[in-house]
Structures are given as structure tokens and as C-alpha cells.
């Protein structure tokens, strides 16, 4: 093991605090004593990666295993990267400043598609060959996980092993097995053949895609008989038994989400048809109120953080929400900790709670109707009615809220201009309602409307749907309608949404597109100052040159139900038949009940326990 000297670089970069480690609660272990050394990489800046709870969870679990060691690494900012390249400093891990290429295993967490170029860039900065088949036994084994691994194919040429699903059990098991094979001097191949027996392990080199002439998949040929036909995600059934980091790292520099985080549950029973998280994290698994309280208690003690937030897909769906919220408010008041409750459904209890925790400073209230008309909300199965929205808004205004945020999506399947008009209409009527109510300070009242571009995702009912081709026109159309006094309107640029759509449902060939873009200097693509339209265009040209079609093939083409999909190799637990049924219901604008009312037959309960099915039925 070697240590890199970075002091001279640190004096020259904008934020040296990103590269030094040494945070309170950091865990340092001896490389020489570890059976397997693991570098955990987040392919984005420190401030972003450190805000991500999943990394803290796994960091903690792995380091608590005696034979394993885990250190962290993030994407260096552009200024640091430049210096590192000039001075020949390879990518290093924060804890020991060891080059990551000296670790046994290097793992990337893939939270969003636009971090893929950063991943390639980090491999390159580490001095590790990009392609799995160019790497020898001296290079670290490259693994990846996270939601984007549910369509692993765009990265299949670069990654040796994907770990799909919850990593709490599968990752340590995988790393320990690696250590055993290493100690016994066995080959990588032998290790991988054994590793596929761990649930959630996908080894791309054991499969070979065969394409039709039109570019669609014909079949996927298995190259090693012992590999599973489909890779079922790993899942932690009992969250209470999973170790949660009650001594998380406390960054010295400010990060994006600089607060204590308590995870309530995984999964969501609502079944919104656009939402990948709502499908791939099924079934809903809740932590017990006692455990949540104990975590909140210890985390605030062990970090000294003065803000706390709750993590889940929909806070107020938590079964013991009132009890839990009341207890946490007491705890936080006593400790002078600010509590935030994201993604609340605004019923009377929530208002009571919000009024309590935002006594002095009412931050904005957030609504996510996602679509502007009831018809389109039925299409996407977002079961929130106009009546829900307006009665909540009325209450909010009465209680003195001055700022309301709305989130919508644009380009949803079956969207028409009428649905866009609906967005403007809601904003207009909220402002109108405020004027009519004559509460004190009503002139300060304002509304923000944010519209994102819909990206169809793998393993959702909309996985067969094309992405809208007319974002720009629609943005212009809506912008004109949104010139309403007191309303500010934001939308996302479309180039990034287009690229997301390619990689969210890409096949192995899209890896070539990615690599070309990276070669053209693309990285940090979601930051507008870094986005290189030219780099991506050149990559598009190269792709078309090589395969004879452009990447719109992945983006704007409607797939048939019969088509073999690149991500079919991954079994997220939900059946394709269910997704098809949902897609058909979407076409008819028919809704599906919340799983708490009745089981909708998604298939998850055929192999796992679905604890909340039908509990309110």
C-alpha cells in the first residue's frame, strides 16, 4: 500500500476540504490486516456523495466486518482533476490516501444516469483500464450498484459485477467471498463463478446479447451455465435487523444535505406508474417506531447535528406516522434540533405537525400533483385530486404559509396541451384563492411551479413508452401561459433529460455512446456549465457511424410488449405481466388502488413477504 502526498495540490484548489477525509466518526483500518479492501466510489462531488445515506449505511456495515475495509472516494472537481493529471497523481481514497487502483475491489454507486461519464473518468484518473476485458488480475475488480444498476447494460462493458438490490447483506457476503478466494490464490474466474450464487449478483461477461437487424435484442445467450437466467434483486426483508449507521460521518465542510437522516421505510404502496423507485423497492418494509426513535436519539447525540430529516418515498404513509412524528418532535424540541418532514400528504394532522415544527419560520409547502388534469393524473396513477390540492392550499393560506411549490412533469404518456393548460390553471387559481381569502400579508404570497421532463424508466409500466420529442415546444407553450403575477416558473433543460432517457433504457451498445462522450471530455453533465453539447453530438455521430442508427432508437421509440428488453436480465421482483396490466390501464386512464387497500398482484409477494398488503382493505 502506498500513500499519496496531496498537500501541494490542496493549497491550489478551490475546496480542499473535499479531499481530506478525517471527519468525525471516520473509520480507519489497517490495509495489511484486511482480507478484502474495498473503495466505495460516488461518481460526483464530495458534497453530493456525502449527502447520500446509502453510502453511509454500507460504509458502516462493511467496516464493522473484521476482515473487510471500506474507504471512500468521490469525483474530484474540475480544478482538482486538472492538477492531478498535470502532476500525475492518481485517484485516491480519502481515509488513507491510498491510490484506488491498489484496492481489491472498487465499487460505484449509480444514483443517476448523468453520473456515468464521471464513473468512466474516475476509472481513468485511477489508472484503471476502462473495459472489463482489458483489465488483468492486478486491477481492482470493478463493481456497481444503486438504482441505475436495474438496467445495467449501458455499463456492462466497464463493470465486472453488478450488485442489484439492497446491499446490506449481499455486499459484505460478496466481499468476504472475494477475500477467501484471494487468500486461497484462486482465479478471478473461479471467484465470479461462485459469486453468481449470491442473490443480486450479475456478471455481464457470463451473458452475450444477440441483436436483430433492426437493433432490437433477439436474445441473451448465457456463456456460463451456472449463471442465473435472470438475476433476482437482493432484498433486506426486516429493516429492523439491518444495521443502521448511528455514528455517521460528520463532514467538516458544508454538504448538500447537511443533516441527520433517519430512514423510515423502503418502498411505496402507491404505485405511481412513472416511478421507478415505487416499483424496484417493493415490497414496502417499515422500521418499527421504537427503532426509529432509538436511531434519531443516537444519531443526534453522536453527530451533534442540529437538523434532522426523515428518509422514505412518502413520509405520511408510514403506518405509525402520528405516533412517530409526535415522539420525534418532542425529542427534537428538547435537543434544539430542527426537524423536517419531506413528502408529506397534507391532511389535518400534517398541518398540525408542520405548524408545530415551523412555528417561527414557515418554509415552503410542497405539492407534487405531477400532472395538470385529473385525466392525466389517472393515467399516471397519481391519486391526488384537485379537491385535495385546493383544500390543503386553503388551509395552508389560513395558517399563514406564504410560499407554495408545485412539482409537475412534462411529456407524460398521453399528454395533450390541455394537460399543460391544467398546470397554468392550478397556479392561477391558487393565486386567486389567496386574493379572495384576505389573510394578513397576502401580498407576499407566491407560488413556484417546477416542471421536469418525463424520462421513461426500466421496470415501470411506462418502460415501453417513447420519450416525448417536443419538450422545447411545450416549454415555450407553457412559459407563455405561466406569465402570472406571483408565480415563478422553472423547467429543466431538455438535453440532459434526453440523455437520461437513452441510458435509463439502454442496451450494451449505448456503452459505446457513453465512452465516446467521455473521450470528448463530457463529465459532470448535469451541471450546465460543464455540459458539452458538442461532445455529446460527436458521440452521437460516432454511434450512428458504428451501428447505423441514432440513440433516438432508445429514447423516442415505442417498444412492443413482445420485445426482449435489455434490462429483462434483472428481476426486480415485480412481474412483467403486472407492468403490462398497468400500462393498459394507463391507456384507459384507469387507476389502481394503493396496495394498503388491496393487493394488485405485482408478484412481489410470490417470493417475499409483503407486510402491508391490504392492511386498510
Amino acid at each position: 500500500m502506498s500513500t499519496i502526498h496531496i498537500e501541494s495540490l490542496l493549497k491550489k484548489v478551490e475546496k480542499p476540504g473535499r479531499y481530506i477525509g478525517g471527519e468525525f466518526n471516520e473509520i480507519r483500518k489497517d490495509h495489511a490486516a484486511a482480507g478484502t479492501t474495498f473503495a466505495f466510489a460516488f461518481p460526483d462531488l464530495y458534497e453530493i456523495g456525502m449527502s447520500y445515506m446509502g453510502m453511509q449505511i454500507l460504509y458502516n456495515i462493511i467496516n464493522h466486518e473484521e476482515s473487510l475495509l471500506c474507504e471512500r472516494v468521490f469525483a474530484p472537481a474540475v480544478d482538482m482533476e486538472k492538477l492531478m493529471r498535470e502532476e500525475g497523481v492518481p485517484l485516491f481514497a480519502l481515509e488513507s490516501k491510498t491510490p484506488v487502483r491498489e484496492f481489491d475491489v472498487l465499487g460505484f454507486t449509480l444514483q443517476y444516469e448523468m453520473s456515468f461519464t464521471n464513473m468512466l473518468n474516475m476509472l481513468d484518473l485511477a489508472g484503471i483500464p476502462l473495459h472489463a476485458d482489458e483489465r488483468g488480475a492486478d486491477a481492482p475488480l470493478i463493481i456497481a450498484g444503486g438504482p441505475c444498476a436495474y438496467d445495467p447494460e449501458p455499463l456492462a462493458d466497464f463493470v465486472d459485477v453488478f450488485l442489484i438490490g439492497d446491499g446490506e447483506e449481499s455486499l459484505p457476503a460478496f466481499l468476504k467471498l472475494y477475500g477467501e478466494y484471494k487468500a486461497a490464490g484462486k482465479s478471478r474466474k473461479a471467484f465470479l463463478q461462485e459469486a453468481v450464487k449470491i442473490q443480486g449478483v450479475y456478471v455481464p461477461r457470463f451473458y452475450e446479447p444477440v441483436y436483430n437487424e433492426d437493433g432490437t435484442l433477439k436474445e441473451v445467450r448465457k456463456l456460463y451455465d451456472g449463471a442465473p437466467d435472470r438475476v433476482r434483486k437482493a432484498m433486506v426483508q426486516e429493516l429492523d435487523l439491518a444495521e443502521y449507521p448511528v455514528k455517521p460521518l460528520v463532514p467538516m465542510i458544508e454538504i448538500v444535505q447537511d443533516r441527520a437522516v433517519v430512514e423510515l421505510f423502503r418502498g411505496c404502496t402507491r404505485g405511481c406508474r412513472f416511478c421507478q423507485a415505487g416499483m424496484i423497492y417493493r415490497p414496502v418494509r417499515e422500521r418499527s417506531p421504537e427503532k426509529i426513535f432509538a436511531i434519531a436519539d443516537q444519531v443526534t447525540k453522536n453527530t451533534g447535528q442540529d437538523e434532522m430529516t426523515l428518509l422514505s418515498l412518502s413520509t405520511s404513509d408510514y403506518s405509525h406516522f402520528e405516533e412517530m412524528a409526535t415522539d420525534l418532535i418532542d425529542l427534537c424540541t428538547e435537543r434544539h434540533v430542527g426537524l423536517s418532514l419531506p413528502s408529506l400528504r397534507l391532511d389535518s394532522f400534517s398541518f398540525k405537525v408542520l405548524n408545530e415544527i415551523q412555528k417561527y419560520r414557515k418554509s415552503g409547502l410542497t405539492f407534487a400533483p405531477e400532472a395538470g388534469t385529473q385525466r392525466l393524473r389517472n393515467v399516471i396513477n397519481k391519486n391526488i385530486t384537485e379537491e385535495n390540492i385546493f383544500s390543503s392550499v386553503r388551509q395552508a393560506i389560513e395558517l399563514g404559509w406564504k410560499h407554495i411549490k408545485f412539482y409537475f412533469m412534462m411529456g407524460l404518456p398521453g399528454e395533450t396541451l390541455e394537460d399543460l393548460d391544467g398546470i397554468a390553471d392550478i397556479a392561477q387559481r391558487v393565486m386567486q384563492l389567496n386574493r379572495e381569502m384576505h389573510v394578513a400579508g397576502s401580498s407576499r404570497f407566491n407560488v413556484t411551479v417546477s416542471v421536469s421532463n418525463f424520462v421513461p424508466k426500466a421496470h415501470t409500466p411506462f418502460q415501453w413508452a417513447p420519450q416525448d420529442a417536443d419538450f422545447t415546444e411545450k416549454h415555450d407553450y407553457l412559459s407563455a401561459k405561466m406569465k402570472i403575477k406571483g408565480v415563478s416558473f422553472h423547467y429543466h433543460d431538455d438535453p440532459v433529460s434526453r440523455l437520461e432517457a437513452v441510458f435509463a433504457r439502454g442496451d450494451r451498445r449505448t456503452g459505446y455512446f457513453l465512452e465516446q462522450a467521455w473521450k470528448n471530455g463530457c463529465k459532470f453533465d448535469s451541471w450546465s456549465e460543464n455540459y458539452s453539447a458538442e461532445g455529446w453530438q460527436k458521440a452521437e455521430d460516432a454511434f450512428r457511424e458504428k451501428y447505423g442508427y441514432g440513440t433516438d432508437f432508445y429514447r423516442t421509440r415505442e417498444r412492443s410488449y413482445e420485445e426482449v428488453l435489455p434490462w429483462d436480465i434483472v428481476d426486480c421482483g415485480v412481474s412483467k405481466a403486472f407492468l403490462m396490466r398497468e400500462m393498459e390501464k394507463a391507456k384507459e386512464a384507469v387507476t389502481t388502488d394503493d396496495c394498503r387497500i388491496r393487493c394488485n398482484g405485482c408478484g412481489v409477494n410470490t417470493w417475499a413477504k409483503c407486510p402491508l398488503e391490504g392492511i386498510h382493505g
Binding site: P16, G22, M252, G304
Partner: protein, 227 residues
């Protein structure tokens, strides 16, 4: 309520934690140590805690002063040992002393600070070997001029720092200049060691790059504080 000051050191990678970050850091450290700070009143209460002097990013220090007020009186030794337990690598708790309730703030008492400075001397750039540098001549100039960026104004202004240099000693060794210096550090008159380095560079007609310089604050002079 009780008032104290704390002396701590900052070394290793921790020197890359900014002044603002240190404020948040200590706020959390007190919470971890279960020492309840007194808070200001108002809509946006903040803990009563402040540094005698900010320390620039990248400087180490053997002597940083932080004053604070706790809600309850407790033995200073206990505060010291509790805080010491919740420090990350690089930050050391050296002393904790109780202060009279009413008195001048440490920031107002602070008048001077001592630094140890290492300059890696680039012979080609500077035009001479480290041990041949005419420090005496530099100090004996009628004026020692530097460009200082004044708050808010965009154009840097030329100022004379000569009177702000209280003491200075130096030695050269293998192309490194080692200096011990005491500079004004207070609200009336203040001199950042960076400006002194700039002035030395200017005297030789060169620019000394920041990565060639290491600065450590070794002491602080607080007028009227029983140190």
C-alpha cells in the same frame, strides 16, 4: 450562564477547514459533548460562541481562541475533557478557562499574533539562494508596500505594512527560510502573514506561490486576558 474560553490547535488535514466551517464544527462538537450553549434571543437564535481571530484556510495553529457561554455553570476541566473526546483527528483541545461574566470579548482583546512561517525558496525565481536573501534590507526599507484587496472595493489598494510587523527573526536552511514573526492582529491594526509573504516576493521581484509557503499560528496576544 457561565462564560469560558477554549484554546485549541489545528493541524494536519484539518487546516483545510475554513473559518465558517469551524463555527459549524464547534456548534456540533458542543452538542456531541452534551454541553449546552447559551443562545441569543430572537427569531433566529444562534449559540453564543465566537473566535478571537479567524484563521485563514490552510494555516495550522497551536493557539486558537474560542469564547463561549454555557447555559449551566460547569468545571472548565470537565468541558475540556468532554470536548477532547469528540474531536476528529487534527483538532486538539489544549485549555479551557472560565471568564468573568461581563468583560470585553476576546476579539476586542486580541492585539497581536505570532506565526512560524516556512518558505520553500525557489532560487531561480527569487534570483538568489535562501541564505543570500537580504532580509535586513527588506525590513529596513522606508516603507514596506503591498497590494491589499479592501472590503467591497474591487481595486486592490497599496498600503504600508512596516509598522504592523512587531518582531521578526529568520534563518535559512537548505533553501528554506524559516521565520518567527509577531504581527498586529486586532480590530485596530491587523496584518495577515500572506501580505508579509507578498511583500518579500515583491522585494525580490517575484511571486511566491502559496504551495511554497507553510504558516502556523503559534500564539496570540490578548490584552487583559489572564493567559
Amino acid at each position: 450562564m457561565a462564560r469560558y474560553y477554549l484554546v485549541f490547535s489545528k493541524n494536519g488535514y484539518a487546516v483545510y477547514t475554513s473559518h465558517l466551517d469551524m463555527q459549524r464544527f464547534f456548534k456540533r462538537a458542543f452538542a456531541r459533548a452534551e454541553i449546552e450553549l447559551a443562545f441569543s434571543n430572537g427569531f433566529n437564535p444562534h449559540p453564543k460562541m465566537s473566535f478571537a481571530q479567524p484563521l485563514s484556510l490552510g494555516y495550522s495553529s497551536q493557539s486558537e481562541y474560542l469564547e463561549f457561554q454555557t447555559k449551566e455553570q460547569m468545571p472548565a476541566e470537565q468541558i475540556k475533557s468532554r470536548l477532547a473526546e469528540v474531536m476528529p483527528e487534527g483538532i486538539g483541545i489544549l485549555r479551557c478557562v472560565q471568564l468573568p461574566d461581563n468583560g470585553k470579548s476576546l476579539a476586542a482583546m486580541c492585539v497581536a499574533a505570532s506565526y512560524r512561517i516556512f518558505i520553500r525558496w525557489d532560487e531561480d525565481e527569487m534570483g538568489c539562494r535562501a541564505d543570500k536573501f537580504d532580509m535586513r534590507g527588506f525590513l529596513d526599507q522606508k516603507e514596506i508596500l503591498v497590494l491589499k484587496r479592501m472590503k467591497k472595493k474591487k481595486e486592490p489598494k497599496e498600503i504600508d505594512i512596516k509598522s504592523k510587523i512587531r518582531e521578526i527573526e529568520w534563518a535559512a536552511q537548505d533553501n528554506i527560510i524559516i521565520m518567527s514573526t509577531k504581527l498586529d492582529a486586532g480590530s485596530d491594526s491587523n496584518l495577515s502573514p500572506d501580505l508579509l509573504i507578498q511583500a518579500i516576493g515583491r522585494y525580490t521581484g517575484a511571486v511566491i506561490p502559496p504551495e511554497n509557503v507553510e504558516i502556523s499560528r503559534v500564539d496570540m496576544e490578548l490584552d487583559g486576558l489572564n493567559q
